[in-house]
Amino acid sequence: MPQININGVEHTIDADPQMPLLWVIRDIVGLIGTKFGCGVGACGACTVHLDGQAVRACLTSLADAQGREVVTIEGLSADGSHPVQRAWEANNVPQCGYCQPGQIMQAAALLTQTPHPSDQQIADAMSGNICRCGTYQRIRQAIKSAAEAV
């Protein structure tokens, strides 16, 4: 049976290896912070880190994730202290909040690769993540303030 490491914990998963990581995380492992939004990689609500890279869990199969390290929003920090999470709080970014775990995971990956992104780099990295409430202005601001804090 496939083994995956989620937030530092090894899980043996009894499921179809083609099952998207999204549903493995949500329905089988029971972590609910990773959200379903579109199922086709078009909205970013299910963004997680796979070996440090931001990926869409709805397009990543269990087989793809086997033997690799998955980090979900629950594992980004133990206590919400990741600079991106703190910046999200300080800027009161969320409205409904549903897309925000995906936004935060995407932004955290961006800042790992590009610690001081320009507006254009933020737009490029974040344009795969939809927020239907329209919190984009604050997302941009929060990424900039997180960049300063890092």
Partner: protein
Amino acid sequence: MTVITNVSRRDLLKGAAAAAGLVLGFHIGFRKLPIAEAAETPHFAPNAFVSIDETGLVTIVASRSEMGTGIKTDLPLVLADELEADWGRVKVVQAPADPKYGDQNTDGSRSTWQFFGLMRLAGATARQMLETAAGQTWNVPAGECRAQTGFVMHAASGRKLAFGDLAKLAALMSVPPADQVRLKDRKDWRYIGKPRGVVDLKDIVRGRATYGIDTVVPGMKYASIERCPVYGGEVKSFDPKDALSVAGVERVVEIPATPMPSGFKPLGGVAVIASNTWSAQQGRQRLKVEWDYGPNAGHDSTTYRAELEATAREPGKVVRNHGDVDNAFASAVRRVSADYFVPYLAHAQMEVPNAVAHWLGGACETWSPTQNPAQVRKTVAEVLGINETDVTVYVTLLGGGFGRKSKPDYVAEAALLSRIIGAPIKVTWTREDDIQHDYYHAICAQHLEAALDQDGRVNGWLHRTVSPPIEATFQPNIVYDSGGELGQGVIDMPYYIPNVRCENGTAANHVRIGWYRSVYNIPHAFAVCSFADELAVATGKDPVEYLRELIGPPRILDLKALGVLVDYPNYGVNQLAPELANEYLIDTGRLRGVLDLAVANSNWGQKLPPRQGRGVAVHRSFLSYVAVVAHVAVGNDGEVAIPRLDMAIDCGTVVNPDRVRAQLEGAAIMSIGNALYGNITVKEGRVEQSNYTDYLVPRIDIVPETHVYFVENYHLPGGVGEPGVPPTAPAICSAIHAATGRRIRALPVDPQQLKV
């Protein structure tokens, strides 16, 4: 634990509301303060909205749904302010559906105005009782005791007691009637008017906030439902064999179709039930279903649009008639006319419709992201044939609502399935289901015509609007818009024009039409605000100056005297809180106020590079006034960028300025989507779009630098969630005209038409 109840709470119910108005300085918009039930209130609980335990923890009930507006924080803040609670010792809990909380339908941007007074009364009542309890404890007059952030103080002696220490004594006291409750002076407000983060903020950024889709009930199964691609179609037959061969799939069952118009009830279809969401979806892809597509299989949005536009060219039912429009046109120096079009739109809220239901043999429990808990209860009871009192409706956080989650069809699906399979079940729509089976924003065609005098002033105004009414989703043969729909920018048109006629043409409906953030204001404000700009351009005047002329002198509109012939509900005030009706009249001075404020901050009139321009629009909706100045830059390829928006709002008293700001920022983004992207088309009865790949919504690359300004005044609170939407799209479209000379009369904007 000791159960303590306040013996005379019922006194509060008797005739309190009438007197309350005098004491509160304004009416409370609610006829009674509900009592807490003894069984659930082991603490000091002077009413159903607040309780305080002996540790001093204050529990406040949020009776309205949280879909991103901040209402779960903001109404409790109002209560906490009057209570003089320490916000750090407040816990907010979400109420299930319960009539004791009054209206829970979180819709129409009305939570704050509807509950502001009641929350104040609820908090002030509790505070006063704690002060009285302190006075008794110290043997001093209650009037010498003052609550302050979780304590009651006696200034003369320097003594103080924590709320928790007073709770037990206060719980034994009778609740003062509303007319004996002293509200705080607004200068003493501690929380109202100050920015505040929402109560779920930490949970959201940690991924711990629970939405409907996150509900887990032990033993729960998962369902995915195939529905007829045409509205009103039914299952002819289906073959479950291949679906059942998918690992994890357990059953395939039919949900009977609701006859059209299906209203709040399920569309029907074939449900695949599995041990997890993925298996249910996989099984569903292998289903073979034969459909009877029904009478809407010929619906085509292109030909339908042409029909609506043809109707708009002909006289319709007169819904406002003032002066003599025919004579105004006959004697006009110049006539200007324009036709406008807005397509069907889908909500596309991030969290798809979903629900968990658990049939308990004669009763049913449900968990869902719903804007309308009472309607969930009613609809679930109806489809199951049980009493409403046997339906329990738990309300989760909503991953967006925008009106979609006012309709409980998806909860009723889960309830029916749970009864069939005899186990709890979660129904999760796919995004394709959501886009293709939505309650769409109404498609709308409009015709406007103005008669101008020799100075370019408007002497006559004709406005025809044609769109399927929402009521057509609930009742057969409804072809005219309601007063409420026409009252969203047509009959309440505020311009100072002597001769006005508004008409409504008929439209037979073919899809589910529903409320979508700001509703009929979207097409109406697009047309009216765009037409004002067209008239300014046609007469060679500055659009801001022209708008000021159109708005005219500050005055209160008397719609009857202005010839309105249909019922004007004024966003529900007249029905839900008639005692507040005179507080929320249409005030052109306030309209002018927001216009001036937005313009003053917008660099209006300053020169811009080629293919850039500014546009302005101002509109009243949901009892608030919003003006927008948009600055756009149109590329040679026709792509529209929006570097900046300046938005001014007059929503009266502001509870949480940070959330008002957020609502306007978000409304602007939604309106940008309506202007530039949103477009649901139908062919052979089937919606042609399916996901975010072909139903486009704004992404971060379009976000403008958005500035929000407040008109500060002492008016009662107005709506905030929706009013930012209507004026933004026309301001953008007028800016596009200023930038390119091309007039946008149909949405969404087609970049091909803006190419150099």
